[in-house]
Symmetry: C2
Subunit: 90 residues, 2 copies
């Protein structure tokens, strides 16, 4: 069994108005930063996964995303998996 | 002037208890997904930046992170900059 670290990025779909992003954009402009715009705010989730291989780990995370972590109607997600280096065996 | 897309990942520092992550972890276990654990939840922010070069763009985003987007006492952040492909010139 290996340990993987999954980084999940959840973003609102492009077609959906991001009110939180708009608020931050206005705040940036109020702080005299006109060079920054089109702000979109999403979630970043890090999870540790115990799985025998990368494919199984990916399936487990995908399942969690669909069942709990994201709203598939409004959000897109992207998963990046990295295997954790094994510790020195006892 | 070039347009860059900055992806900012804001995470709570390791030493700080992530209650939202803990709640999600409990929910995952309740949904019979015991292979997933150590959940940490952060923010993912996408911003478009107008700047003459990558260094200036990075400085602008760094400044926005320090002044508005993150809480430097509790959070770490990471910036990834990608230059947007220029459109066909008129």
């Amino acid at each position: 069994m290996k340990t993987y670290t999954a980084s999940i990025t959840v973003t609102l779909r492009r077609a959906i108005l991001d009110v939180q992003g708009k608020a931050v954009e206005h705040a940036l402009h109020s702080l005299h930063m006109p060079a920054l715009g089109s702000v979109r705010i999403g979630k970043h989730i890090e999870v540790e996964v115990q799985a025998p291989d990368t494919d199984t780990a990916n399936d487990l995370v995908m399942d969690a995303c669909k069942k709990l972590l994201t709203n598939p109607v409004m959000e897109d997600f992207h998963i990046a998996l990295v295997e954790k280096a094994a510790g020195v065996p006892a």
